[in-house]
Protein backbone atom coordinates (compact mmCIF):
# COMPACT_ATOMS: atom_id res chain seq x y z
CA UNK A 1 0.00 0.00 0.00
CA UNK A 2 1.28 3.48 -0.83
CA UNK A 3 1.86 5.45 2.34
CA UNK A 4 -0.07 8.69 2.78
CA UNK A 5 3.06 10.76 3.21
CA UNK A 6 6.58 9.73 2.44
CA UNK A 7 9.66 11.87 2.94
CA UNK A 8 12.99 10.67 1.58
CA UNK A 9 16.20 12.48 2.47
CA UNK A 10 14.38 15.78 2.67
CA UNK A 11 16.62 18.78 3.06
CA UNK A 12 15.57 22.40 3.34
CA UNK A 13 18.20 25.11 3.32
CA UNK A 14 17.34 28.73 3.86
CA UNK A 15 19.74 31.34 2.60
CA UNK A 16 20.61 33.94 5.18
CA UNK A 17 23.06 36.80 5.37
CA UNK A 18 25.47 37.24 8.25
CA UNK A 19 27.87 40.18 8.16
CA UNK A 20 27.45 40.46 4.40
CA UNK A 21 28.22 36.80 3.77
CA UNK A 22 25.68 34.40 2.34
CA UNK A 23 25.20 31.34 4.49
CA UNK A 24 22.99 28.30 4.27
CA UNK A 25 20.81 27.51 7.27
CA UNK A 26 19.90 23.85 7.06
CA UNK A 27 16.49 23.68 8.77
CA UNK A 28 15.90 20.11 7.63
CA UNK A 29 18.66 17.66 6.89
CA UNK A 30 18.23 14.04 5.82
CA UNK A 31 14.65 13.68 7.03
CA UNK A 32 13.10 10.26 6.46
CA UNK A 33 9.49 9.79 7.48
CA UNK A 34 6.59 7.59 6.45
CA UNK A 35 3.03 8.25 7.58
CA UNK A 36 0.35 5.68 6.77
CA UNK A 37 -3.38 6.29 6.42
CA UNK A 38 -5.12 6.40 9.81
CA UNK A 39 -1.89 6.78 11.79
CA UNK A 40 -1.45 9.17 14.68
CA UNK A 41 2.04 10.52 14.89
CA UNK A 42 3.62 13.05 17.23
CA UNK A 43 6.49 15.22 16.00
CA UNK A 44 8.47 16.15 19.07
CA UNK A 45 11.46 18.43 19.44
CA UNK A 46 12.69 21.62 21.00
CA UNK A 47 12.77 25.04 19.39
CA UNK A 48 15.02 25.09 16.36
CA UNK A 49 14.63 21.36 15.73
CA UNK A 50 12.81 21.93 12.42
CA UNK A 51 9.30 20.83 13.42
CA UNK A 52 7.60 23.79 11.82
CA UNK A 53 9.62 23.56 8.61
CA UNK A 54 8.78 19.87 8.39
CA UNK A 55 5.13 20.75 8.82
CA UNK A 56 5.33 23.27 5.99
CA UNK A 57 6.91 20.64 3.77
CA UNK A 58 4.13 18.17 4.60
CA UNK A 59 1.51 20.79 3.77
CA UNK A 60 3.24 21.61 0.50
CA UNK A 61 3.85 25.22 1.55
CA UNK A 62 7.64 24.91 1.41
CA UNK A 63 9.29 22.84 -1.32
CA UNK A 64 12.29 20.83 -0.11
CA UNK A 65 15.70 21.94 -1.42
CA UNK A 66 16.77 18.31 -1.82
CA UNK A 67 15.03 14.95 -1.55
CA UNK A 68 11.43 14.04 -2.24
CA UNK A 69 8.23 14.71 -0.33
CA UNK A 70 5.35 12.55 -1.56
CA UNK A 71 1.61 12.46 -0.87
CA UNK A 72 0.05 9.18 -2.01
CA UNK A 73 3.13 8.56 -4.11
CA UNK A 74 3.20 11.94 -5.89
CA UNK A 75 5.14 15.12 -5.08
CA UNK A 76 3.20 17.19 -2.54
CA UNK A 77 3.79 20.52 -4.29
CA UNK A 78 2.39 19.07 -7.53
CA UNK A 79 -0.69 17.56 -5.83
CA UNK A 80 -1.35 20.80 -4.06
CA UNK A 81 -1.10 22.87 -7.23
CA UNK A 82 -3.53 20.65 -9.18
CA UNK A 83 -6.77 21.48 -7.38
CA UNK A 84 -8.41 22.01 -4.03
CA UNK A 85 -8.57 18.34 -3.10
CA UNK A 86 -5.30 18.34 -1.16
CA UNK A 87 -6.24 21.43 0.85
CA UNK A 88 -9.61 19.88 1.54
CA UNK A 89 -8.18 16.56 2.67
CA UNK A 90 -5.35 17.90 4.78
CA UNK A 91 -6.64 20.37 7.37
CA UNK A 92 -4.54 22.41 9.74
CA UNK A 93 -5.00 23.70 13.28
CA UNK A 94 -2.53 26.46 13.96
CA UNK A 95 -0.56 27.00 17.13
CA UNK A 96 -1.96 30.49 17.67
CA UNK A 97 -5.63 29.61 17.26
CA UNK A 98 -6.82 33.09 18.13
CA UNK A 99 -4.44 34.66 15.64
CA UNK A 100 -5.57 32.25 12.93
CA UNK A 101 -9.21 33.37 13.19
CA UNK A 102 -10.36 36.70 11.73
CA UNK A 103 -11.42 38.75 14.77
CA UNK A 104 -14.11 40.55 12.78
CA UNK A 105 -15.94 37.38 11.80
CA UNK A 106 -18.41 35.53 14.00
CA UNK A 107 -17.90 31.84 14.68
CA UNK A 108 -20.73 31.13 12.24
CA UNK A 109 -18.98 33.09 9.45
CA UNK A 110 -15.62 31.52 10.27
CA UNK A 111 -16.92 27.98 9.93
CA UNK A 112 -19.14 28.77 6.93
CA UNK A 113 -16.13 30.04 4.98
CA UNK A 114 -14.49 26.62 4.39
CA UNK A 115 -17.94 25.06 3.83
CA UNK A 116 -18.50 27.49 0.96
CA UNK A 117 -14.93 27.46 -0.35
CA UNK A 118 -14.86 23.70 -0.73
CA UNK A 119 -18.52 23.47 -1.79
CA UNK A 120 -19.33 21.10 1.06
CA UNK A 121 -23.00 22.05 1.25
CA UNK A 122 -25.51 24.57 -0.07
CA UNK A 123 -25.90 27.98 1.55
CA UNK A 124 -29.24 26.91 2.97
CA UNK A 125 -27.72 23.87 4.65
CA UNK A 126 -24.77 25.80 6.11
CA UNK A 127 -26.31 26.99 9.43
CA UNK A 128 -27.31 23.45 10.41
CA UNK A 129 -23.89 22.19 9.35
CA UNK A 130 -22.15 24.82 11.49
CA UNK A 131 -24.17 23.76 14.52
CA UNK A 132 -23.38 20.10 13.92
CA UNK A 133 -19.68 20.92 13.76
CA UNK A 134 -19.91 22.98 16.96
CA UNK A 135 -21.64 20.08 18.69
CA UNK A 136 -18.90 17.75 17.48
CA UNK A 137 -16.25 19.83 19.27
CA UNK A 138 -18.39 20.26 22.37
CA UNK A 139 -19.58 23.84 21.90
CA UNK A 140 -23.15 25.08 22.41
CA UNK A 141 -25.12 26.36 19.35
CA UNK A 142 -25.27 29.89 20.85
CA UNK A 143 -21.52 30.19 20.29
CA UNK A 144 -22.21 30.64 16.56
CA UNK A 145 -23.11 34.29 17.04
CA UNK A 146 -19.99 35.17 19.05
CA UNK A 147 -16.69 36.71 18.07
CA UNK A 148 -13.37 35.03 18.99
CA UNK A 149 -12.59 37.88 21.42
CA UNK A 150 -15.63 36.91 23.50
CA UNK A 151 -14.35 33.38 24.07
CA UNK A 152 -11.79 31.69 26.31
CA UNK A 153 -8.56 30.17 25.00
CA UNK A 154 -9.95 26.63 25.19
CA UNK A 155 -13.12 27.61 23.32
CA UNK A 156 -11.16 29.37 20.59
CA UNK A 157 -9.11 26.19 20.03
CA UNK A 158 -12.34 24.25 19.67
CA UNK A 159 -13.57 26.73 17.07
CA UNK A 160 -10.28 26.32 15.17
CA UNK A 161 -10.75 22.54 15.25
CA UNK A 162 -14.38 22.82 14.09
CA UNK A 163 -13.22 25.03 11.23
CA UNK A 164 -10.53 22.54 10.27
CA UNK A 165 -13.09 19.69 10.30
CA UNK A 166 -15.53 21.65 8.11
CA UNK A 167 -13.89 20.49 4.87
CA UNK A 168 -14.33 16.85 5.94
CA UNK A 169 -10.59 16.17 5.92
CA UNK A 170 -8.92 12.80 6.23
CA UNK A 171 -5.75 14.26 7.74
CA UNK A 172 -5.61 16.70 10.64
CA UNK A 173 -2.34 18.49 11.22
CA UNK A 174 -2.12 20.30 14.55
CA UNK A 175 0.75 22.54 15.64
CA UNK A 176 0.98 22.72 19.45
CA UNK A 177 -2.82 22.63 19.56
CA UNK A 178 -3.02 22.21 23.34
CA UNK A 179 0.03 24.11 24.60
CA UNK A 180 -0.36 27.21 26.74
CA UNK A 181 -3.76 26.11 28.03
CA UNK A 182 -4.71 25.39 31.60
CA UNK A 183 -4.43 21.73 32.50
CA UNK A 184 -8.19 21.22 32.71
CA UNK A 185 -8.87 22.79 29.29
CA UNK A 186 -5.88 20.92 27.91
CA UNK A 187 -7.25 17.64 29.20
CA UNK A 188 -10.71 18.40 27.78
CA UNK A 189 -9.20 19.18 24.38
CA UNK A 190 -7.02 16.06 24.33
CA UNK A 191 -10.05 13.91 25.06
CA UNK A 192 -11.87 15.66 22.23
CA UNK A 193 -9.03 15.01 19.76
CA UNK A 194 -8.84 11.38 20.81
CA UNK A 195 -12.56 10.95 20.27
CA UNK A 196 -12.49 12.69 16.88
CA UNK A 197 -9.62 10.54 15.71
CA UNK A 198 -11.44 7.37 16.70
CA UNK A 199 -14.84 8.41 15.33
CA UNK A 200 -13.71 9.92 12.03
CA UNK A 201 -10.72 7.69 11.37
CA UNK A 202 -8.54 10.78 10.97
CA UNK A 203 -4.84 10.61 10.31
CA UNK A 204 -3.40 12.82 13.01
CA UNK A 205 -0.08 14.64 12.73
CA UNK A 206 0.52 16.36 16.03
CA UNK A 207 3.37 18.70 16.78
CA UNK A 208 4.14 19.00 20.47
CA UNK A 209 7.01 19.53 22.86
CA UNK A 210 5.23 17.60 25.62
CA UNK A 211 6.01 13.87 25.74
CA UNK A 212 2.99 13.25 27.98
CA UNK A 213 0.70 14.75 25.35
CA UNK A 214 2.45 12.72 22.65
CA UNK A 215 1.98 9.47 24.55
CA UNK A 216 -1.67 10.25 25.33
CA UNK A 217 -2.66 11.04 21.77
CA UNK A 218 -0.31 9.38 19.32
CA UNK A 219 0.57 5.76 18.62
CA UNK A 220 3.79 6.77 16.88
CA UNK A 221 6.43 9.32 17.66
CA UNK A 222 9.20 11.05 15.71
CA UNK A 223 11.79 12.92 17.78
CA UNK A 224 13.69 15.70 16.05
CA UNK A 225 16.97 17.37 16.86
CA UNK A 226 18.54 20.15 14.81
CA UNK A 227 16.74 19.40 11.57
CA UNK A 228 16.90 15.61 11.63
CA UNK A 229 14.56 12.94 12.92
CA UNK A 230 16.78 11.13 15.41
CA UNK A 231 14.34 8.45 16.53
CA UNK A 232 10.98 7.06 15.40
CA UNK A 233 8.79 4.19 16.48
CA UNK A 234 5.73 3.27 18.56
CA UNK A 235 5.37 5.98 21.22
CA UNK A 236 5.28 3.67 24.23
CA UNK A 237 8.21 1.54 23.10
CA UNK A 238 10.35 4.58 22.32
CA UNK A 239 9.57 6.33 25.60
CA UNK A 240 9.97 3.18 27.67
CA UNK A 241 13.41 2.46 26.25
CA UNK A 242 14.75 5.26 24.08
CA UNK A 243 17.52 4.20 21.71
CA UNK A 244 18.86 7.67 20.90
CA UNK A 245 20.64 9.51 23.74
CA UNK A 246 18.76 12.71 22.89
CA UNK A 247 15.41 10.90 23.14
CA UNK A 248 16.53 9.58 26.50
CA UNK A 249 17.48 13.06 27.72
CA UNK A 250 14.16 14.47 26.58
CA UNK A 251 12.38 11.64 28.38
CA UNK A 252 14.26 12.33 31.60
CA UNK A 253 13.69 16.08 31.39
CA UNK A 254 9.90 15.72 31.59
CA UNK A 255 8.72 16.77 35.08
CA UNK A 256 7.75 13.77 37.15
CA UNK A 257 6.03 13.82 40.55
CA UNK A 258 8.49 13.78 43.46
CA UNK A 259 11.38 12.62 41.30
CA UNK A 260 14.62 14.50 41.92
CA UNK A 261 14.99 17.42 39.54
CA UNK A 262 16.85 15.98 36.58
CA UNK A 263 19.30 17.95 34.52
CA UNK A 264 19.91 15.48 31.75
CA UNK A 265 21.62 17.79 29.30
CA UNK A 266 24.23 20.46 29.65
CA UNK A 267 24.67 23.33 27.26
CA UNK A 268 22.28 24.44 24.58
CA UNK A 269 21.29 23.44 21.08
CA UNK A 270 24.05 24.58 18.66
CA UNK A 271 23.32 27.00 15.85
CA UNK A 272 22.04 25.33 12.67
CA UNK A 273 24.34 27.63 10.66
CA UNK A 274 27.34 26.09 12.30
CA UNK A 275 26.63 22.38 12.71
CA UNK A 276 29.27 20.35 14.51
CA UNK A 277 31.11 17.73 12.43
CA UNK A 278 29.88 14.16 12.76
CA UNK A 279 26.73 13.56 14.78
CA UNK A 280 24.94 16.84 15.49
CA UNK A 281 24.19 15.75 19.04
CA UNK A 282 27.71 14.58 19.87
CA UNK A 283 28.69 17.84 21.64
CA UNK A 284 26.00 17.34 24.30
CA UNK A 285 25.86 13.55 24.32
CA UNK A 286 27.00 11.71 27.42
CA UNK A 287 27.62 8.54 25.39
CA UNK A 288 29.58 10.07 22.52
CA UNK A 289 32.64 8.14 21.32
CA UNK A 290 35.43 9.14 18.99
CA UNK A 291 33.64 8.05 15.80
CA UNK A 292 30.58 10.16 16.72
CA UNK A 293 32.57 13.31 16.02
CA UNK A 294 33.54 12.07 12.56
CA UNK A 295 30.54 10.24 11.09
CA UNK A 296 27.07 11.77 10.73
CA UNK A 297 24.62 8.93 11.45
CA UNK A 298 21.55 8.55 9.19
CA UNK A 299 18.18 7.36 10.50
CA UNK A 300 18.48 3.57 10.27
CA UNK A 301 16.20 0.71 11.15
CA UNK A 302 16.71 -0.97 14.53
CA UNK A 303 13.89 -3.47 14.05
CA UNK A 304 10.58 -3.66 12.18
CA UNK A 305 9.09 -0.67 13.92
CA UNK A 306 11.88 1.45 15.25
CA UNK A 307 14.68 3.52 13.79
CA UNK A 308 17.35 5.78 15.25
CA UNK A 309 20.07 8.05 13.90
CA UNK A 310 22.81 6.95 16.27
CA UNK A 311 26.06 5.05 15.87
CA UNK A 312 25.74 3.57 19.36
CA UNK A 313 22.03 3.13 20.13
CA UNK A 314 21.24 2.67 23.80
CA UNK A 315 18.92 -0.27 23.76
CA UNK A 316 21.06 -3.38 24.01
CA UNK A 317 18.77 -5.69 22.11
CA UNK A 318 19.11 -3.47 19.05
CA UNK A 319 22.87 -3.63 18.96
CA UNK A 320 24.28 -5.12 15.76
CA UNK A 321 20.83 -5.58 14.23
Amino acid sequence: MTPLFELREVEKTFEIRRKGKKLGLRALDGVRLTITQGASIALVGESGSGKSTLLRVLLGLTPPTEGVALYQGRPIAQVRAENREFARNVAMVYQDARGSLNPRMTVEALITEPLRHFGICTAAQAPARVRALLARVGLAPEVAGRFPSEMSGGQVRRVAIARALASEPTVLVADEAVSGLDVSSQAQLLNLLRRLQAEMGLTLIFITHDLGVASYLCAEIAIMYLGRIVETGPTRAVLDAPAHPYARALRKAAPEFFAPLAEPLTGEIPSPIDLPPGCRFSGRCAYAQADCRLTDPALLRLNDHRAAACLHPLTQSFANV
Binding site: S215, F257, E268
Partner: protein, 317 residues
Protein backbone atom coordinates in the same frame (compact mmCIF):
# COMPACT_ATOMS: atom_id res chain seq x y z
CA UNK B 1 8.13 32.65 65.59
CA UNK B 2 11.19 34.46 64.42
CA UNK B 3 11.88 32.51 61.29
CA UNK B 4 8.74 33.69 59.50
CA UNK B 5 9.80 35.96 56.66
CA UNK B 6 6.44 36.70 55.10
CA UNK B 7 3.01 36.54 56.69
CA UNK B 8 0.08 37.45 54.46
CA UNK B 9 -3.33 37.67 56.09
CA UNK B 10 -6.63 38.03 54.27
CA UNK B 11 -5.18 39.72 51.22
CA UNK B 12 -8.16 40.90 49.19
CA UNK B 13 -7.76 42.72 45.92
CA UNK B 14 -10.46 44.41 43.87
CA UNK B 15 -10.26 45.87 40.41
CA UNK B 16 -13.49 47.81 40.04
CA UNK B 17 -16.32 45.35 40.60
CA UNK B 18 -14.05 42.36 40.18
CA UNK B 19 -12.70 40.65 43.28
CA UNK B 20 -9.43 39.21 41.95
CA UNK B 21 -8.10 37.92 45.28
CA UNK B 22 -10.46 36.89 48.06
CA UNK B 23 -8.93 36.76 51.56
CA UNK B 24 -5.69 35.02 50.63
CA UNK B 25 -3.51 34.02 53.60
CA UNK B 26 -0.08 32.45 53.41
CA UNK B 27 3.17 32.32 55.35
CA UNK B 28 6.73 31.71 54.30
CA UNK B 29 9.68 30.85 56.52
CA UNK B 30 13.22 32.03 55.95
CA UNK B 31 15.01 29.88 53.39
CA UNK B 32 11.82 28.14 52.31
CA UNK B 33 10.54 27.63 48.77
CA UNK B 34 6.83 27.97 48.13
CA UNK B 35 4.84 27.15 45.00
CA UNK B 36 1.69 29.05 44.06
CA UNK B 37 -0.25 26.79 41.73
CA UNK B 38 -3.59 27.01 39.97
CA UNK B 39 -5.05 27.73 36.57
CA UNK B 40 -5.30 31.09 34.83
CA UNK B 41 -7.38 33.54 36.82
CA UNK B 42 -6.37 31.87 40.08
CA UNK B 43 -4.48 35.01 41.10
CA UNK B 44 -0.99 33.48 41.35
CA UNK B 45 0.80 36.25 39.50
CA UNK B 46 -1.40 38.91 41.09
CA UNK B 47 -0.22 37.84 44.54
CA UNK B 48 3.41 38.20 43.42
CA UNK B 49 2.74 41.58 41.82
CA UNK B 50 0.87 42.85 44.90
CA UNK B 51 3.70 41.77 47.19
CA UNK B 52 6.25 43.48 44.94
CA UNK B 53 4.29 46.73 45.13
CA UNK B 54 3.72 46.77 41.39
CA UNK B 55 -0.07 47.05 41.37
CA UNK B 56 -1.51 49.90 39.34
CA UNK B 57 -3.86 52.49 40.73
CA UNK B 58 -6.92 50.63 39.53
CA UNK B 59 -6.51 48.03 42.27
CA UNK B 60 -7.61 48.42 45.88
CA UNK B 61 -6.37 46.03 48.55
CA UNK B 62 -7.20 45.10 52.11
CA UNK B 63 -5.55 42.72 54.55
CA UNK B 64 -1.95 42.78 55.74
CA UNK B 65 1.39 41.42 54.58
CA UNK B 66 4.14 41.44 57.21
CA UNK B 67 7.58 41.02 55.70
CA UNK B 68 10.71 40.73 57.85
CA UNK B 69 10.70 43.90 59.95
CA UNK B 70 8.11 45.67 57.82
CA UNK B 71 4.73 45.59 59.58
CA UNK B 72 2.71 45.80 56.35
CA UNK B 73 3.87 45.82 52.75
CA UNK B 74 0.39 46.69 51.53
CA UNK B 75 0.40 50.10 53.22
CA UNK B 76 3.91 51.12 52.15
CA UNK B 77 4.45 54.45 50.42
CA UNK B 78 6.16 54.52 47.03
CA UNK B 79 9.24 55.73 48.86
CA UNK B 80 9.09 52.82 51.25
CA UNK B 81 8.83 50.47 48.28
CA UNK B 82 11.85 52.01 46.58
CA UNK B 83 14.00 50.97 49.54
CA UNK B 84 12.77 47.38 49.41
CA UNK B 85 12.13 46.51 45.79
CA UNK B 86 15.21 45.13 44.09
CA UNK B 87 17.06 44.91 47.41
CA UNK B 88 14.98 42.84 49.79
CA UNK B 89 12.42 41.63 47.26
CA UNK B 90 13.17 40.76 43.66
CA UNK B 91 11.41 39.09 40.80
CA UNK B 92 12.21 36.86 37.84
CA UNK B 93 9.58 37.30 35.16
CA UNK B 94 8.12 34.69 32.85
CA UNK B 95 9.32 36.12 29.57
CA UNK B 96 12.89 37.28 29.95
CA UNK B 97 12.97 38.44 26.34
CA UNK B 98 10.21 40.92 27.12
CA UNK B 99 11.41 41.88 30.60
CA UNK B 100 14.92 42.86 29.54
CA UNK B 101 15.33 46.19 27.78
CA UNK B 102 16.15 45.51 24.12
CA UNK B 103 18.05 48.79 23.70
CA UNK B 104 20.77 48.17 26.27
CA UNK B 105 23.41 45.47 26.57
CA UNK B 106 22.79 42.91 29.29
CA UNK B 107 26.00 43.98 31.02
CA UNK B 108 24.79 47.55 31.27
CA UNK B 109 21.39 46.45 32.60
CA UNK B 110 23.03 44.34 35.26
CA UNK B 111 25.59 46.99 36.21
CA UNK B 112 22.94 49.70 36.45
CA UNK B 113 21.12 47.71 39.14
CA UNK B 114 24.35 47.39 41.13
CA UNK B 115 25.18 51.07 40.78
CA UNK B 116 21.72 52.27 41.71
CA UNK B 117 20.95 49.86 44.53
CA UNK B 118 24.38 49.40 46.05
CA UNK B 119 26.00 52.68 45.03
CA UNK B 120 28.96 50.94 43.37
CA UNK B 121 31.28 52.83 41.06
CA UNK B 122 31.15 52.15 37.35
CA UNK B 123 34.29 50.03 37.56
CA UNK B 124 33.18 48.05 40.61
CA UNK B 125 29.75 47.47 39.14
CA UNK B 126 31.26 46.09 35.97
CA UNK B 127 33.51 43.58 37.68
CA UNK B 128 30.69 42.53 40.03
CA UNK B 129 28.39 42.11 37.02
CA UNK B 130 30.88 39.79 35.32
CA UNK B 131 31.15 37.73 38.51
CA UNK B 132 27.35 37.50 38.75
CA UNK B 133 27.04 36.41 35.13
CA UNK B 134 29.59 33.69 35.79
CA UNK B 135 27.76 32.56 38.92
CA UNK B 136 24.56 31.98 36.94
CA UNK B 137 26.40 29.74 34.49
CA UNK B 138 27.01 32.07 31.56
CA UNK B 139 30.15 31.00 29.70
CA UNK B 140 32.38 33.78 28.44
CA UNK B 141 30.68 36.25 30.81
CA UNK B 142 33.17 38.95 29.94
CA UNK B 143 32.28 38.69 26.25
CA UNK B 144 28.54 38.38 26.83
CA UNK B 145 28.47 41.64 28.81
CA UNK B 146 28.25 43.56 25.55
CA UNK B 147 25.51 41.36 24.06
CA UNK B 148 22.01 42.72 23.55
CA UNK B 149 19.18 40.53 24.85
CA UNK B 150 18.12 39.42 21.36
CA UNK B 151 21.60 38.02 20.75
CA UNK B 152 21.14 35.51 23.57
CA UNK B 153 19.06 32.34 23.61
CA UNK B 154 15.95 32.16 25.81
CA UNK B 155 17.82 30.14 28.43
CA UNK B 156 20.68 32.65 28.52
CA UNK B 157 18.23 35.58 28.78
CA UNK B 158 16.59 33.88 31.75
CA UNK B 159 20.01 33.41 33.37
CA UNK B 160 20.65 37.14 32.99
CA UNK B 161 17.28 37.85 34.62
CA UNK B 162 18.20 35.62 37.55
CA UNK B 163 21.53 37.44 37.87
CA UNK B 164 19.78 40.83 37.91
CA UNK B 165 17.20 39.65 40.47
CA UNK B 166 19.90 38.25 42.76
CA UNK B 167 22.30 41.16 42.31
CA UNK B 168 21.50 42.68 45.71
CA UNK B 169 21.07 39.40 47.61
CA UNK B 170 17.33 39.75 48.25
CA UNK B 171 15.63 37.97 51.15
CA UNK B 172 12.73 36.95 48.95
CA UNK B 173 12.72 36.09 45.28
CA UNK B 174 9.55 35.76 43.21
CA UNK B 175 9.87 33.55 40.14
CA UNK B 176 6.79 33.91 37.96
CA UNK B 177 6.67 30.88 35.64
CA UNK B 178 10.42 31.26 35.05
CA UNK B 179 10.65 28.34 32.65
CA UNK B 180 7.35 28.11 30.81
CA UNK B 181 8.80 29.90 27.77
CA UNK B 182 11.80 27.56 27.65
CA UNK B 183 12.46 24.13 26.20
CA UNK B 184 12.14 21.19 28.58
CA UNK B 185 15.84 20.35 28.66
CA UNK B 186 16.60 23.99 29.60
CA UNK B 187 13.76 24.18 32.17
CA UNK B 188 15.46 21.95 34.70
CA UNK B 189 18.72 23.90 34.33
CA UNK B 190 17.00 27.20 35.22
CA UNK B 191 14.93 25.83 38.13
CA UNK B 192 18.05 24.27 39.60
CA UNK B 193 19.96 27.50 39.15
CA UNK B 194 17.29 29.50 41.00
CA UNK B 195 17.14 26.93 43.83
CA UNK B 196 20.93 26.76 44.20
CA UNK B 197 21.42 30.50 44.12
CA UNK B 198 18.66 31.31 46.60
CA UNK B 199 19.78 28.50 48.90
CA UNK B 200 23.37 29.77 48.85
CA UNK B 201 22.10 33.18 49.94
CA UNK B 202 19.69 31.83 52.58
CA UNK B 203 16.89 33.55 50.68
CA UNK B 204 13.30 32.38 50.35
CA UNK B 205 11.64 31.85 47.01
CA UNK B 206 8.05 31.95 45.82
CA UNK B 207 7.50 30.18 42.51
CA UNK B 208 4.41 30.77 40.44
CA UNK B 209 3.88 27.49 38.58
CA UNK B 210 1.17 25.75 36.64
CA UNK B 211 2.96 22.41 36.54
CA UNK B 212 2.15 20.37 39.65
CA UNK B 213 4.85 17.80 38.95
CA UNK B 214 7.48 20.53 38.71
CA UNK B 215 6.17 22.04 41.97
CA UNK B 216 6.56 18.66 43.67
CA UNK B 217 10.17 18.51 42.47
CA UNK B 218 11.21 22.00 43.48
CA UNK B 219 9.22 23.42 46.40
CA UNK B 220 8.95 22.75 50.16
CA UNK B 221 5.41 24.00 50.40
CA UNK B 222 2.51 24.60 48.04
CA UNK B 223 -0.55 26.83 47.92
CA UNK B 224 -3.36 25.72 45.60
CA UNK B 225 -5.45 28.63 44.38
CA UNK B 226 -8.70 28.77 42.46
CA UNK B 227 -10.24 32.02 41.21
CA UNK B 228 -8.48 34.09 43.87
CA UNK B 229 -9.21 31.83 46.84
CA UNK B 230 -6.84 29.49 48.66
CA UNK B 231 -8.22 25.96 48.42
CA UNK B 232 -5.46 23.96 50.08
CA UNK B 233 -1.99 24.78 51.40
CA UNK B 234 0.76 22.89 53.17
CA UNK B 235 3.95 20.87 52.71
CA UNK B 236 4.20 19.77 49.06
CA UNK B 237 4.64 16.13 50.06
CA UNK B 238 1.47 16.15 52.18
CA UNK B 239 -0.73 18.10 49.76
CA UNK B 240 0.24 16.35 46.53
CA UNK B 241 0.59 12.81 47.85
CA UNK B 242 -2.78 12.93 49.54
CA UNK B 243 -4.86 15.91 48.38
CA UNK B 244 -8.02 16.45 50.39
CA UNK B 245 -9.57 19.33 48.47
CA UNK B 246 -11.74 18.21 45.52
CA UNK B 247 -10.10 20.92 43.38
CA UNK B 248 -6.56 19.73 44.13
CA UNK B 249 -7.65 16.21 43.23
CA UNK B 250 -9.15 17.34 39.95
CA UNK B 251 -6.13 19.46 39.11
CA UNK B 252 -3.91 16.49 39.73
CA UNK B 253 -6.10 14.20 37.64
CA UNK B 254 -5.58 16.51 34.65
CA UNK B 255 -1.80 16.21 34.73
CA UNK B 256 -0.50 14.14 31.87
CA UNK B 257 2.55 12.10 32.49
CA UNK B 258 4.09 9.67 30.06
CA UNK B 259 1.87 6.62 30.02
CA UNK B 260 -1.28 8.33 31.32
CA UNK B 261 -4.21 6.30 30.01
CA UNK B 262 -7.23 8.38 30.87
CA UNK B 263 -7.88 11.96 31.82
CA UNK B 264 -11.02 13.02 33.63
CA UNK B 265 -11.01 16.81 33.56
CA UNK B 266 -13.74 18.76 35.39
CA UNK B 267 -16.43 20.02 33.04
CA UNK B 268 -17.01 23.70 32.43
CA UNK B 269 -14.76 26.61 33.26
CA UNK B 270 -14.23 29.33 35.87
CA UNK B 271 -17.38 31.52 36.12
CA UNK B 272 -17.09 35.22 35.18
CA UNK B 273 -16.53 37.57 38.12
CA UNK B 274 -20.11 38.86 38.14
CA UNK B 275 -21.40 35.30 38.53
CA UNK B 276 -19.02 34.14 41.27
CA UNK B 277 -20.76 32.35 44.13
CA UNK B 278 -20.58 34.07 47.50
CA UNK B 279 -19.12 30.95 49.13
CA UNK B 280 -16.50 28.63 47.70
CA UNK B 281 -15.74 29.74 44.16
CA UNK B 282 -15.05 26.18 43.02
CA UNK B 283 -18.57 25.12 44.06
CA UNK B 284 -19.95 25.69 40.52
CA UNK B 285 -17.78 22.84 39.18
CA UNK B 286 -17.26 20.72 42.28
CA UNK B 287 -18.69 17.19 42.30
CA UNK B 288 -19.13 17.36 46.10
CA UNK B 289 -20.72 20.80 46.33
CA UNK B 290 -24.09 21.46 47.93
CA UNK B 291 -26.13 24.59 48.73
CA UNK B 292 -23.96 25.50 51.69
CA UNK B 293 -20.78 25.56 49.56
CA UNK B 294 -22.24 28.14 47.18
CA UNK B 295 -23.54 30.35 50.00
CA UNK B 296 -20.93 30.15 52.72
CA UNK B 297 -17.17 30.35 52.35
CA UNK B 298 -15.40 27.50 54.15
CA UNK B 299 -12.62 28.79 56.45
CA UNK B 300 -9.01 27.75 55.83
CA UNK B 301 -8.30 25.43 58.75
CA UNK B 302 -5.83 22.67 59.64
CA UNK B 303 -6.81 19.18 58.46
CA UNK B 304 -4.42 16.23 58.37
CA UNK B 305 -1.19 18.21 58.29
CA UNK B 306 -2.27 20.94 55.86
CA UNK B 307 -4.65 23.89 55.68
CA UNK B 308 -7.88 23.20 53.88
CA UNK B 309 -10.85 25.35 52.85
CA UNK B 310 -13.65 22.88 52.17
CA UNK B 311 -16.95 21.87 53.75
CA UNK B 312 -16.77 18.38 52.25
CA UNK B 313 -13.14 17.32 52.13
CA UNK B 314 -12.11 14.11 50.41
CA UNK B 315 -11.10 11.09 52.48
CA UNK B 316 -7.52 9.96 52.72
CA UNK B 317 -6.28 8.46 49.48
Amino acid sequence: MNDILLDVRDLTLDRGEKRILDRVSLTLAKGETLALVGESGAGKSTIAIALMGLLGRSATTSGTARFDDQPDLLSLSERGWAALRGRKLAMVFQDAGAALNPSFTVGRQLASVLRRQLGLSKFEARSRAVALMESVGINDAEGRMTAYPHQLSGGMQQRVMVAIALACNPDLLFADEPTSALDVTIQAQIIRLILEQTRARGASCIFVLHDLALASQSCDRIVVLYAGQVMEAGPTEVVLRDPRHPYTRLLQSCVIEIGTEDLTPPEGSVPPYDQMPAGCRFSTRCPRADARCAAERPPLQPVAGRDLACWHPEDAA
